[in-house]
Amino acid sequence: MKLIGLGADKIGTTVLIVLAMVSFIIPLCNLVSPADSPLHFSAYTVSVLGKYLTFALLGLSLDLVWGYCGILALGQGAFFALGGYAMGMYLMRQIGTRGVYGDPLLPDFMVFLNWKELPWYWLGFDNFWFALLMVVLVPGVLAFVFGWLAFRSRVTGVYLSIITQALTYALLLAFFRNEMGFGGNNGLTDFKELLGFNIQSEALRALLLMISGVTLIAVFILCRWLVNTKLGRVVTAIRDQESRVRFLGYRVEMFKLWIFVFSAMIAGIAGALYVPQVGIINPSEFSPLNSLEIVIWVAIGGRGTLYGAIIGAVLVNYSKTVLTGLMPEIWLFTLGAVFVLVTVFLPDGLVGLMRRRLQESHS
């Protein structure tokens, strides 16, 4: 036991150090070195790394509910996308008169749909802080309502998984509708600036990478602290023996609800960081398959470890980036095979493998 704990800490610390390196050294390098220097990282690298970090944050949020609380949420992508939409709405409002039709108030797609005024739910999003509040509030409230209903009536196991899937599927269909006022299938795109900075500028990109990294580190440390508090231990106990915890007098549904809402908020933040870095948010983020993929990242990395989720998210997405370029015709075979092999042979994911190796080298 001791060894595992030690090993776990060791990998966790390594992950933290690498994260810190990525999120500080790369942006700093780019700020101090000229564009043609070998130390200068291309915009491509910066934006791809930034994307990985937001995915890692998303994976982390799922690991919290799945790995520690045993709720296999197949709709985590919905919270991610909602956070993304909140940020996207702010970015849309920043476009102002620079849109295609030059309307100072309405985004292009609303002008196009002949809307005369801004719908009420778009109000306030011109304010950055309001948008930021919504980034955590909207996913949080949705998770609260959903969780309050579901956990109170003791929906568990596959039933819970499938209705989270139904939730994200319903949202996918809803956001897809043009009448909803979120840009339909095209979603929100063509952003110009964030807090007055040109969204395509190198400095902002570096800054976003840094912010993503710092957020990830902070959330990681926070989660690590959280799972070691009394609350965290109760949550883990719920995962392992829900009815026993209930008989001990704990209000299981409140613990579940709390952790579910918290994780949804993290997913929302991840979404908000994701959107300015990829430049588009559209309903495909709600697709049930996307949410499934998040589960895969966590499973591959190793669930219930937090850093496993980070490793899994980065690795799967990195291999996707590489494989789709290297062998565009057959990369799905490789990815599919990896999913199968990891689940069958590495039940604890890559982290489990690393831990075993570490233990061996210590004994």
Partner: protein, 548 residues
């Protein structure tokens, strides 16, 4: 190229001229022949208006040219390239079995490239159908006569009406007679004689015809200035009364139609979900590759059709066992190769089978290309059962509904009455106890998974008849399938059946008010809320197994 095709047209014209000179027995009038030649040349080369003209000229030729015209309409009229003769070809899938268009003597089979088809456009088809209708009005088959009346009835062509009038006198079949009567009643509605009009309206109110409804609706409408289109108040009132009468029936039939739509959508959902109900419900395996197993079934249908191109109807029937076997084998391979290592970790089966689904999808893409494959619908499954003008039920949906029920009953019987079924139920209830009683659980697992997968394959055969056969087929149904199983209650086949039909009908009743997308969203929200109320679905599993 251009010159060549024009030469082809000339050859065609010459051939057709020959045909008609033979057809018009004894009529050696050179000018008439010249006229026909012009008509035929125009038919192929002229502008739209000229072609129309040509068709009318051809119509005067009488019933002797019926076979050729019918072949032209059916796209079976060809020019044999070797001797420039006009032939009628029947598709035998490698090529055509041809016979001479004029004499009717068989000329053997030819390759597709040996003949040039005479193409048609819509306008030509419409004209042809009219002419053929007139020529067929004296056919022996009442169904053909009825179709002929329908084809001719919609026009204000006086000559067509005259032919119909003549037919009415000699017609024996009641339905056909009624149809002809409606044509003239509709005409009477426009007459200048008021009493004739009122009588016509009165007579028509018992008729189930959309033409009648539209005419009547037009009578009671107001124009833009706010005045009634129909100035005579008596006629308006008669029309209104008749409309009330008809609309009650219309509403009744449209509800029947909606229920049928719902049932058929439900049948598709049940078919897609019922295999999952076994693997997911009985075994606790979350099989994300379920959709891809359906896809395999659909592709099996495609392959079967390629293997036996001459017998479309039979090949679809034969696809059912073939698809069952293939999907079942793939399913057993998945179970033996992957899932058996994952028992006791149900949620992880989701991940592994998701990987499998990616692999299966990409395999199909590599083998069959990413394009959709064309699966033909056999004759007996196309078209619809026209109950009356207000209600028609499409055959393919009808058969799928029947098929779904057959599959369900069979499955139920397998689980209830066979020894495999007994073992499956035993393992599902208590795996360890079953094992202790000497049931070979691992074999039962494999068989159960094979059964569920095989049924997915069979569902794929049904889906191939209504939707795309392509690599994405499975993905389109997987989420819905899970919803149905969970809504019905995991581990309960009756639950799946009821859930499928309920969701299908709910969807179809919501659709007219909410639109297709909103209806689906509402159904999903309903499922979410329903699960809060009954956390284990419509028909919850009872006993110890329910706790896992």
């Amino acid at each position: 190229m251009k010159a060549k095709s024009i030469k082809g047209y000339c050859r065609l014209a010459a051939c057709l001229m020959l045909v008609f000179s033979l057809a018009i027995h004894g009529d050696q009038d050179v000018s008439k022949q010249q006229l026909l030649l012009n008509a035929l040349t125009n038919l192929k080369q002229g502008s739209m208006a000229e072609r129309e003209q040509a068709i009318i000229q051809l119509a005067d030729n009488g019933s002797s040219s019926l076979t050729i015209l019918q072949a032209l309409l059916d796209g079976q009229l060809f020019i044999l390239k070797s001797d420039d003769s006009l032939v009628i070809g029947a598709d035998n899938n490698q090529g055509y079995d041809i016979r001479d268009a004029i004499t009717g003597t068989a000329k053997g089979a030819v390759e597709r490239t040996d003949v040039g088809k005479i193409n048609l456009t819509n306008k030509l088809r419409v004209s042809l159908r009219k002419i053929i209708g007139q020529l067929q009005l004296s056919s022996d088959d009442p169904a053909i006569r009825l179709a002929a009346v329908k084809a001719m009835g919609n026009e204000e062509d006086e000559s067509a009406l005259a032919i119909l009038k003549a037919r009415e006198g000699v017609e024996k079949d009641e339905t056909v007679k009624q149809a002809i009567k409606v044509v003239f009643l509709l005409k009477d509605m426009n007459s200048s004689d008021k009493s004739l009009r009122i009588n016509a309206i009165d007579a028509l109110k018992e008729v189930n015809s959309l033409d009648v409804v539209n005419r009547l609706n037009a009578m009671v409408e107001k124009d833009e200035a706010g005045n009634f289109v129909e100035s005579d108040i008596d006629i308006r009132n008669t029309a209104k009364a008749a409309l009330i009468n008809i609309n009650t029936r219309l509403q009744l039939y449209s509800s029947i139609e909606t229920v049928f739509f719902g049932l058929s959508l439900g049948a598709v959902l049940v078919l897609a979900a019922i295999g999952l109900a076994i693997t997911f419900g009985v075994m606790g395996v979350i099989n994300m590759a379920h959709g891809e197993l359906m896809m395999l079934g659909a592709y099996t249908t495609y392959v079967m059709q390629q293997l036996m191109p001459n017998n479309l109807a039979f090949s679809v029937l034969l696809s059912i066992p073939a698809a069952f076997v293939i999907s079942a084998l793939v399913g057993i391979a998945i179970e033996r190769g992957i899932i058996r290592f994952l028992y006791g970790r149900p949620l992880e089966t989701l991940l592994a089978t998701f990987g499998v689904s990616l692999i299966l999808q990409q395999s199909v893409r590599s083998i069959f290309s990413p394009l959709n494959r064309s699966v033909a619908t056999p004759e007996w499954m196309s078209g619809s059962w026209q109950v009356n003008d207000f209600l028609s039920l499409t055959w393919n949906r009808f058969y799928i509904l029947v098929f779904c029920l057959i599959v369900f009953v069979l499955l139920l019987q397998i689980l209830k009455r066979t020894s495999l079924g007994l073992e499956v139920r035993a393992v599902a209830q208590n795996r360890n106890m079953a094992k202790a009683m000497g049931i070979p659980t691992s074999r039962v697992d494999a068989m159960t998974f094979g059964l569920g997968s095989g049924i997915a394959g069979v569902a794929g055969v049904a889906l191939s008849q209504i939707t795309n056969v392509g690599p994405n087929l499975g993905q389109a149904y997987i989420v819905d399938s899970f919803m149905v199983v969970v809504f019905g209650g995991v581990g309960n086949l009756w639950g799946t059946l009821v859930a499928g039909f309920v969701l299908g009908i709910a969807n179809k009743f919501l659709e007219p008010f909410a639109g297709a997308v909103l209806a689906k969203i509402l159904v999903l929200i309903f499922i979410i809320l329903f699960i809060q109320k009954r956390p284990r679905g419509l028909f919850p599993q009872k006993g110890r197994a329910a706790d896992s």
